[in-house]
């Protein structure tokens, strides 16, 4: 009996091939970037190796005769409430490799999803619901600092505003594409996000990988990010977008930096990031010029100076335990936007332990930040953008009712172009052509089609948001923002209710 490492026996998926249906066309062989399917010369047919399958479903989707079925392997360990299979398998893996467990995408761990405990209101009798197909329904949103009050001058033509406002960015929908760096996802998707954001009148975020010269023309709808690695940051870059975002942390991996392996650094990534081809691009855990809140204050103002105070500066932080106090400090340090990334937010690569165990859910973080900023009378000084685990338009509505000005979507945008959440983004082998810079795989994404799909998703959500708003008897998004009276909670304890600031259903 050949020796097989223990790990090999406990793979997660297996392939079911319908022999009658299979025509041996070898599409699956070419599509699978993990080498599951292969041509067996001796038997003159396509066969497969189950141990390699990571469950991306690419072959299943492309098989011309629907001969394939990818299933979770039903083989079970002896039931054990403590030692669930994932822990057992992880130990086998680490015993083999001696390495950190890597993972991609947001945490699949079973942490309460508070969106599911929150329910929305609708009008009945005492106020009419509003039909968005007949009446105006307004979703326009502004992100940036606002003054507490305004001074007007009345002229025969109408009012004139005397107060000078700080720069804000205007969104047609309260949804933006979240930071996903060029390098972690490929160029085709960056073009797609840029085009979709421009078409929709919203924004996409470059992520920490810089902005390729050819995308500068979409600058009006771009938020340029400055992270601890400072990749691709220079004067033109800072002035290329409509807003600048300082990335302090990421929900999927609070407290640690990033690592783009050298294999992913091709010529285009290299020129955009300003790092040599093939060298690892490492983002340190902290910004080495920010060891305290006053340092952040300096960086915010350095960036404002560099961009001549023409664009708002956002600061993105991961949702950690003291997020409310941290956000308050960030706003006082001069941020015009605080983006909060919850622990279910996606990532190209993160140590699984960090991803599944560090941080707090966005719902609680968002609610406490919004309340804290209001309690301190500084809510108008900055907008709040919620990120991390927004799955549908109802989640967006709930986030806004809790107090967000807008939400960032990342994972949802990738799902729109075919991602199946296989969570192996860190391998660079994404069979859907997303989290990969391999030209053979990357060309699976056509930027035109991807842009269309992303735009479609947002438009669909916008329609749904309008329906929900109208149902609540509201015709403008600002009347929903922070309006927690439109939410009720089921199945939560009193402390959770207090944190969310939401009444229990039935009250």
């Amino acid at each position: 009996m050949a020796f097989a490492p223990i790990n090999k026996n406990y793979h997660d998926f297996f392939v079911v091939r319908d022999k009658d249906a299979c025509i041996n066309c070898q599409v699956c062989v070419r599509q699978c970037s993990y080498g599951v399917h292969f041509w067996d010369e001796a038997r003159q047919c396509v066969r497969h190796d189950n141990t390699k399958c990571i469950g991306c479903h690419r072959c299943e989707a492309l098989c011309p005769t629907q001969a394939l079925l990818i299933q979770e392997k039903p083989s079970n360990f002896k039931a054990n409430a403590l030692w669930r299979p994932v822990f057992i398998k992880n130990i086998y893996k680490q015993a083999d490799t001696g390495g950190v467990l890597l993972s991609g995408m947001g945490s699949p761990a079973d942490i309460p999803v508070y969106w599911d405990n929150l329910l929305l209101d609708a009008s009945q009798v005492t106020n009419p619901s509003i039909d968005p197909l007949r009446e105006p329904m307004e979703l326009r949103t502004f992100l940036g600092s606002k003054p507490t009050r305004l001074e007007f001058e009345e002229t025969p033509e109408g009012p004139r505003v005397k107060t000078k406002l700080k720069p804000n960015i205007a969104l047609n929908f309260p949804i933006m594409f979240s930071a996903m760096s060029f390098g972690s996802i490929n160029f085709n998707l960056h073009i797609a996000m840029a085009r979709a954001a421009s078409e929709l009148g919203t924004y996409y975020n470059t992520g920490e990988g810089g902005l390729h010269q050819s995308l500068y023309k979409y600058g009006k709808n771009t938020i340029v990010q400055v992270a601890s690695g400072r990749f691709g940051v220079h004067r033109d870059y800072l002035n290329a977008g409509a807003a600048i975002e300082i990335k302090i942390g990421q929900g999927a991996k609070p407290g640690i930096g990033g690592h783009l392996p050298g294999e992913k650094i091709n010529a285009k990534v290299s020129e955009t990031r300003m790092v040599p081809i093939g060298s690892d691009a490492i983002s340190p855990a902290p910004h080495h010029d920010i060891y305290s809140i006053e340092d952040l204050h300096q960086l915010i103002y350095a960036l404002k100076e560099a961009s001549e105070y023409k664009v708002p500066v956002s600061v993105k932080i991961a949702a950690v335990h003291n997020v409310a106090a941290i956000a308050s400090g960030v706003v006082r340090a001069g941020a015009d936007i605080v983006a909060i990334d919850g622990m279910r937010g996606g990532t190209g690569a993160a140590p699984a332990m960090i991803r599944d165990n560090v941080g707090i859910p966005i719902e609680l973080a968002l609610a406490s930040v919004d309340q804290r900023l209001r309690d301190e009378g500084i809510r108008n000084n900055a907008s709040i953008v919620a990120a991390g685990g927004t799955r549908c338009s109802a989640d967006v509505v709930k986030a806004i009712a809790l107090g967000a000005d807008a939400v960032y979507i990342g994972t949802a945008a990738l799902l729109a172009v075919g991602c199946t959440l296989c969570a192996r983004c860190y391998t660079g082998k994404c069979p859907w052509g997303i989290a990969t810079n391999d030209p053979y795989l990357a060309k699976r994404q056509n930027p035109d089609i991807a842009a269309k799909k992303m735009a479609n998703l947002m438009k669909a959500w916008a329609h749904e948001i309008e329906e929900m708003l109208g149902g609540m008897g509201l015709n403008s998004i600002e009347s929903l923002r922070g309006n927690r009276d439109k939410l009720r909670a089921v199945g939560l304890n009193q402390i959770e209710l207090d944190t969310l600031g939401v009444k229990a259903a039935g009250r």
Binding site: N127, E151, G158, P159, N168, R481, N483
Partner: protein, 365 residues
């Protein structure tokens, strides 16, 4: 201010209503019988769980004093309020508000009025450096919070009279036919869940401002939180309260005109704003960006007065009725034309104001 503990867990009543208002631009006095009769016509817009009136010009002899109307279930409560008032104000007169026992009004609270002037500077126990109006508002909130008594009217040469009952019964109870004023507003209420509390009836007043409101403010949840950021705590379990505080904040504290404030309540739609000339487009964009949390969303028709004008305003898509009519120097605003016709047969003009367009009628002087 920091939101009080469990501020989110409030109860609020929901109600439909009828409103009526009249102003004589020449300050000729209108007897109480007219608004009473008009409200009678709209009897069916209420269900007997709330009625009230506000009248301006009723206390000419004390025109420079704050007229505090206070209600309280118990004498002890009232005494504790009086204690506080003594500390913060100079009392010029203190008397029961004249009432008449009526069959329809059951278990009325004790209603009392004071004519007051505010203590100044060092004589004040608290809020020494506040300007006078701020000071008075602070004391009112203080009394409402710290004692079981409730200040339901606090302006000069004006008064609110309200309670649980049909407006005509409330009027009879307060003997309103004995008063005369140059501006009157009236309110008939149809709450669907009521705490049955006299303070919850309309009009709502703060200093000289009074508001009657027909509608439901669906944006209440955020209006309330926004006001709390600006130190107004909503305690009255009704959404009209936010209108009163917003008016106070926008006009008195932020210095906006009533017209600008009405644009905060019911701003133009974006596609209208986008078509405006540059200066106005900027002004309205700023208004919506900054005062978005104060937008009153949902169906409403409100009548607002500060003793110098009467304003009628509908929500942005006119989901509640509001009719305006003129006859000589009288201008009427009402939920129903019938109520106006009933008190004034011959009208010069009658029209229904457009959605979101305020009608502001000022006194001539």
């Amino acid at each position: 201010m920091k939101a009080p503990e469990r501020y989110y867990d409030f109860q609020k009543d929901i109600s439909g209503c009828g409103v009526f208002g009249v102003i004589n631009t020449k300050r000729e006095l209108i007897p109480g019988s007219m608004p009473i009769q008009a409200m009678c016509t709209m009897h069916d817009r209420g269900n007997g769980l709330g009625g009230g009136f506000a009248a301006y010009g009723i206390y000419p002899d004390h025109a420079d004093k704050y007229a505090f109307h206070i209600m309280c279930e118990t004498q002890e409560g009232l005494d504790s309020a009086e204690e506080l008032i003594k500390k913060f104000f100079v009392i010029h007169e203190s008397q029961p508000i004249p009432t008449k026992p009526t069959l329809a009004i059951k278990n009325p609270p004790i209603v009392w009025r004071f004519f007051l002037s505010a203590k100044q500077g060092g004589d004040r126990p608290k809020w020494r450096t506040n300007d006078e109006k701020d000071y008075v508002v602070n004391v009112i909130m203080h009394i409402n919070k710290k004692t079981p008594a409730f200040v339901f009217s606090s302006g000069k040469n004006m008064g609110a009279f309200k309670g649980v009952g049909f407006p005509e019964d409330i009027a009879e109870f307060f003997r309103l036919d004995e008063y005369q004023g140059y501006i009157w507003t009236g309110h008939n209420r149809f709450p669907t869940n009521t705490p049955g509390w006299w303070g919850g009836a309309h009009p709502f007043t703060l200093l000289d401002w009074s508001i009657v409101h027909n509608g439901e403010i669906s944006s209440y949840g955020i209006n309330r939180r926004y006001l709390c950021e600006h130190d107004y705590e909503c305690t009255l379990m009704t959404d009209t309260e936010v209108v009163a505080y917003e008016i106070d904040m926008l006009i008195r504290k932020h210095g906006l005109s009533l017209r600008m404030a009405s644009w905060v309540f019911a701003p133009p739609f974006w596609d209208e704003i986008d078509r405006m000339p540059e200066e106005q487009r900027k002004a309205f964009e700023a208004l919506r960006m900054v005062y978005g949390p104060a937008l009153l969303n949902g169906p409403f028709a409100i009548l607002v007065s500060d003793g110098t004008c009467l304003m009628g305003l509908n929500d942005r898509i006119k989901l509640r009725p509001l009719i305006v009519a003129e006859s000589g120097s009288n201008v009427f605003m009402s939920s129903e034309e019938s109520s106006i016709r009933d008190v004034c047969r011959e009208l010069d003009t009658v029209w229904a104001p457009k959605a979101g367009e305020p009608v502001i009628v000022k006194l001539e002087d």
